[in-house]
Each structure stands twice: as C-alpha cells, then as structure tokens.
C-alpha cells in the first residue's frame, strides 16, 4: 500500500499517475541506448560536459559521425547541446524546463478538473439553500 518513492508527495503523486509518457519518447530513448558509442558518450557526459570535437577525439570518430550520434541522443532527450561561439557543448539532458512546464500543466489540469466538479456541488448546495429558505419563510 505504500508509495515506492518517498519524494513524491501530495498532488505530485496524483500527477505522476496522470502523466502518460509517450511511447515515442520511450522508444527513442531505447533506440538511442542500443548503440555502444552512444552509451559511452552518456557515460562520458555523466563525468563532465564535452564538446562534439572532444567526444569525436575520445571515441576516435569523425566529427560528422559524432554529430549524428549526439543528434540521436538529443532527439531522445538524453543529451542537450548548446553552441557558444564555434563550439557546441553537450551535456546530459533532463529537459528540466520542459519537465517543469509539463508538470505545471498537469497540475493545472488536476485543479481545473476538481474545480469544475466543485462547481456542480456548489450549485447543488445553492439550490438546496434556496429551497430550504423558501420552506422557512412559509
């Protein structure tokens, strides 16, 4: 009966049930991980951010080849890249901002849905009050 993760509390746990992670993202993640080089890149980035050039050197690949691998990881949301000047830096990507926005949206949906139901309860209570009020006046 206990939740498996203690950090999820209150509404967060409800949202977690509501969130439907797309199969697409799931497939993309696994496709990205099916390749030994890409797994190596993730491990590398787990240690420190690196440029595409660094990664190409480290894995003895052409720049073009490494760009492709990083592209696949980026599509899967596992890596983010940022170009500063002429250097594109790669880091492990958790899509933090997108995640927060998505979470807030789910949180909004939860409360909107609750309040729409609450409207119905409130309307019913108002009608009851009117009926009771009329009875009392009689």
């Amino acid at each position: 009966m206990r939740a498996s993760r203690s950090r999820e509390v209150g509404n967060a746990r409800i949202l977690n049930y509501m969130v439907q992670y797309s199969q697409t993202r799931f497939d993309a993640s696994f496709a990205a991980l099916s390749d030994a080089t890409r797994r190596g890149v993730l491990v590398q980035l787990g240690g420190a951010d690196a440029s595409i050039t660094d990664l190409a050197d480290r894995f003895h690949m052409t720049l073009t080849g490494m760009k492709k691998h990083v592209g696949v990881l980026e599509q899967a949301g596992l890596v983010t890249t940022e170009k500063v000047g002429r250097v594109r830096t790669c880091k492990l990507g958790l899509r933090r901002l997108e995640e927060e926005a998505a979470w807030i949206e789910k949180y909004h949906q939860l409360w909107s849905a609750r309040f729409d139901e609450l409207d119905k309860v409130v309307e019913e209570l108002k009608r009851k009050e009117k009926v009771d009020g009329r009875k009392k006046r009689r």
Partner: protein, 172 residues
C-alpha cells in the same frame, strides 16, 4: 428563477490559474459563483469533498475519504488507479476558520507541503486561493522531478541501465 441562475452559471465558467510563485510555492486561484460559506462547506464536509476531489478525468477513484475538519483533526484519502496499488494521503488540519481559511499539512514525508486555502467573498462570489508551500526548493523540485517516478516501469529500468553504464564506465 432557479433555471435562470443555473443558466447564468453555466454560461460563465470560471478560469483556474496556476503559478509557481517562488522556489517553494505554488498558487492556484479560481472564482466560484457562490457565497464563501457554500464553497467552504464543500471543502469541509467529507461526503461533499469526495464528490469532487477525484474527478473522473484523472482516472482515479477515491476509495475512502476521511476528513475531520477541526484544528488538529486528521484527514486520510485513499485513491485507487486501475490495477495499480492504491495511494494514501494523510495529514492534519492546523487552521480552520469558518468560511474564510483552511490550512493543512501533508505528512507522507518530510517534503510534504503545507496547504492554505482562503475563501474571499465579493459580491456573492468567492475568490478561492490555494497556496502550497513546500519546506524547501529541493522538495518542490523533487516533486516536479518526481514525475520521473510516475513513468512506466520501463523507465525505472532505463534509470538502472544508466547507473550500470556509469559504473562500468568508471571501471574502464
């Protein structure tokens, strides 16, 4: 007369707003076309609360709903969701001011928020402000990141795989 007031309220559907007010606060607002005492009643009578707390669109059902809405009183909600295990929420009411203010804690973990709901009546309508304050930025960030925990089981396996990969990378 009743029919007309129903028509009016249906025509004016009020909007819910949500804002992350600070590193550890979330604020939800909504107006209701009713006096504060009516809205307050719907929050404090368990049999009314259970009618709206788990709307169908969430896919959840409320298996049980106990709410002793008095200062120091406890609440306990149990939700079911399909075939998965049920979830239990519990805490205490720490402030109960009739028709104007409710404050409760969430005690499933140390990262639980304190929720304050205020009911402000203006011209027969009620502005409801729900404010969730987490104990720390990390707690709210954790709740948000906790969405990862709600992902399909396979994502948990993906986490483990990444950890394994990290470990083997460290050895090489």
């Amino acid at each position: 007369m009743d029919a007309r007031s129903e028509g009016e309220s249906a025509a004016m559907k009020n909007r819910t707003t949500v804002e992350r007010k600070s590193e550890r606060e979330l604020v939800v607002t909504r107006t209701f076309n009713a006096p504060a005492r009516v809205v307050f009643e719907a929050w404090t009578q368990p049999e009314l609360l259970k009618r709206w707390w788990a709307p169908k669109s969430t896919g959840m059902t409320l298996l049980s709903c106990e709410a002793d809405v008095r200062v120091g009183g406890r609440y306990r909600f149990e939700f079911g969701h399909g075939d998965s295990q049920s979830m239990v929420f519990f805490g205490r009411y720490v402030e109960v001011t009739p028709h104007s203010r409710l404050v409760w804690t969430n005690e499933e973990s140390d990262d639980g928020a304190v929720t304050t709901v205020t009911f402000e009546e203006q011209g027969g309508k009620t502005l409801l402000v729900l404010h969730e304050r987490y104990p720390s930025k990390e707690a709210l960030d954790g709740a948000i990141a906790g969405m990862e925990g709600g992902m399909p089981e396979q994502f948990g396996q993906l986490d483990e795989l990444l950890v394994t990969l990290g470990a083997s990378g460290g050895r090489s």
